[in-house]
Symmetry: C2
Subunit: 345 residues, 2 copies
DNA sequence: TTTAGCACTCTATAGTTTGGAGTGCTAAAG
DNA sequence: CTTTAGCACTCCAAACTATAGAGTGCTAAA
């Protein structure tokens, strides 16, 4: 994985990547020669660049244009050459103030703020997968009767998640019946994660069916209704218009495809879910991405946790020509802050 | 307002508008002459068109191009010439099935579905202002203790709105203390609309302060916290990418400005709020819009209500060249359905 | 009042020219 | 053996030029 290239080639590759990231223009040998004063002549650089191209790290849009990094070039850069940026005070402040646990209790609020901060700090589109509700554990279930026919189910998880849903009662229920249902459910479900509930519940149901029929029938409906909705996890987006500033998206058709993708939440979810959560930060360059629609993009993801349990994924999506150092350092900091903010609530 | 134009001119204006809406190309005299078989020659039409241009109903992108409707032309068309379309079965079905009150209790669900239906039926961007929470009346307030330090405030309005928020208790509260607070608040607030609450609450607070100090202090915080968030009303968007299909948005810069607008919820809110809710459906063509950013667009809005109380606004935003008849008839139908669905819950 | 006819205008499209940036190769210099 | 100067070559992008076609306005005849 390391150092297939000699020092000089590495320097040149690095120069090409950095330059291209900055200018979005193919980088010529003279540009590099000049930026290393007292260095090598353009002719020498040219030779090296030709080598790098043959080895697959650089590419030429056409003869007589400069070189641009290939996907492999970016990969080498990210793995071996990249420096992480210091965060600017500006960004540092935005992250720490707008995400501090202080004011906001709701997880959703925090997440939405995160998308905003992340996209504005990176000038890319940010996507954040909301907390994986179904990975959370049951903590408490309450039912508030609203009137004779309706009630409000409130579901609380160990991760501080709160969901509520209005449900209809099939038959009229007395206060004590409700009480019974609720405490029965709480007893059975306490500590289970949400995705364990559906299957285990059915088993419980079957076993206890003949004893508690009428009561459980109701309860089952309540639960099912309130859980159904939670299967889909929300993906929050920020800075979708940032792609319009990127010259690689000057084509209206590309824009359309990209924005279309952004509107399809389930797809976004799959894209984010797909990253192995082993490493903290994962960089997927170009065709390393599984999904056709983003094969010309780079996706950088990180995961955030609460009490060491992975809650969701944070991502930045942009063209392969992206400021890797900056994005990665911003994301590191953001994930840290998220972990901290969420744990303290 | 009516019939400043003779029959023939009206026919021609109508033809130009309809043609231009369909093709997005300037309409020439021959096109019209041909589409009225046995009608007038192109020369005659030309004369009339010249008149219409002088009167301000038509415009020419340049000499030797056909005519396109001016803003005034569209206005005349909408006021006097337009036919409403029958809804296609397809659309009719989408509206009635996906918005029926049956499955969905949550207002938000219904609204989000509405944006989807509206944008797909009109091929434009749809925006719907969520229910005006602060115009709803207090119905019930509950507080569920979560643990010693925290509780869940649940607020229910007469319009079936349910909002909850986790709050911290400053001091530890006993069950009975909580009970007291809640019933006191419910008693005082019942029937008030939410935007009445803040001011009247302060007065109440002051008056009762010396008697119920500790209790009310808590309660006030609870309320304030839970109300603060509700000031901002959500605007839901659908089909934002539809503008990319419109030839008037082939310019990336225009797209950027438009999409940028879509990301600024407060602005969208202002735009929607601004429509006088007297008439059911309001059409704002081009510069009739107050807001700079949409002066090249047409905004068509309608309001939906529950029990005769205006809840929110539904809008369709697109280029002035838009199928007015279709949009208006779809919106009529949608608003009807919304009123019905919301009232029945 | 309507229409045929014609000269005129303007745009969009395709084709042409040209300058410049960058390359690869060769041969000389270190 | 490595580096570099020099030069011919390639290719694109931008500017310019031609051309066809759609549409107009006006005039004079029906």
């Amino acid at each position: 994985m390391t150092a297939e290239l000699n020092d000089r080639k590495e320097q040149i590759l690095r120069s090409v990547v950095i330059n291209y990231i900055k200018t979005a223009e193919p980088v010529g040998s003279r540009t590099i020669s000049r930026s290393h004063p007292g260095g090598l002549s353009s002719a020498t650089i040219r030779n090296e660049m030709a080598d790098l191209e043959e080895m697959g790290y650089l590419a030429q849009p056409h003869t007589s244009a400069g070189r641009i990094p290939s996907q492999r070039g970016y990969r080498y850069y990210v793995d071996d050459l990249m420096d992480l940026n210091e965060l600017s005070e500006d960004v540092e402040e935005k992250i720490s103030t707008s995400l501090s646990a202080g004011k906001m209790r709701e997880i959703e609020q925090i997440i939405m703020n995160s998308t905003r901060v992340l996209s504005s700090a990176t000038n890319q589109t940010s996507l954040i997968m909301g907390p994986q509700f179904k990975k959370s554990a049951f903590h408490q279930l309450r039912i508030l009767p609203l009137d004779e026919k309706r009630g409000l189910v409130v579901l609380i998880t160990d991760t501080g998640f709160i969901k509520n849903k209005v449900i209809d009662f099939q038959h009229q229920l007395s206060q004590t019946e409700l009480q019974q249902i609720v405490s029965y459910l709480n007893q059975k479900l306490y500590g289970l994660t949400i995705d364990q509930v559906t299957t285990s519940l059915i088993n419980e149901l079957k076993r206890d069916l003949f004893r508690r029929l009428e009561i459980l029938e109701q309860a089952f409906i309540l639960l099912e209704e309130s859980l159904k909705e939670e299967k889909q996890i929300r993906v929050f987006l920020g800075g979708t218009t940032n792609i319009l500033n990127q010259p690689e998206f000057k084509d209206v058709d590309k824009i359309r495809r990209m924005l279309n993708l952004f509107e399809q939440e389930p797809l976004l979810f799959k894209i984010l879910e797909d990253t192995s959560s082993e490493d903290n930060i994962v960089v997927r360059i170009g065709s390393e991405n599984e999904f056709e629609d983003i094969k010309e993009c780079t996706l950088i993801t990180g995961t955030y946790r609460i009490h060491d349990k992975t809650l969701g994924t944070v991502g930045v999506l942009g063209p392969t020509r992206m400021d890797y150092g900056k994005v990665i350092s911003v994301m590191r900091r953001l994930v840290d802050q998220l972990n901290q903010s969420l744990s303290s609530s």
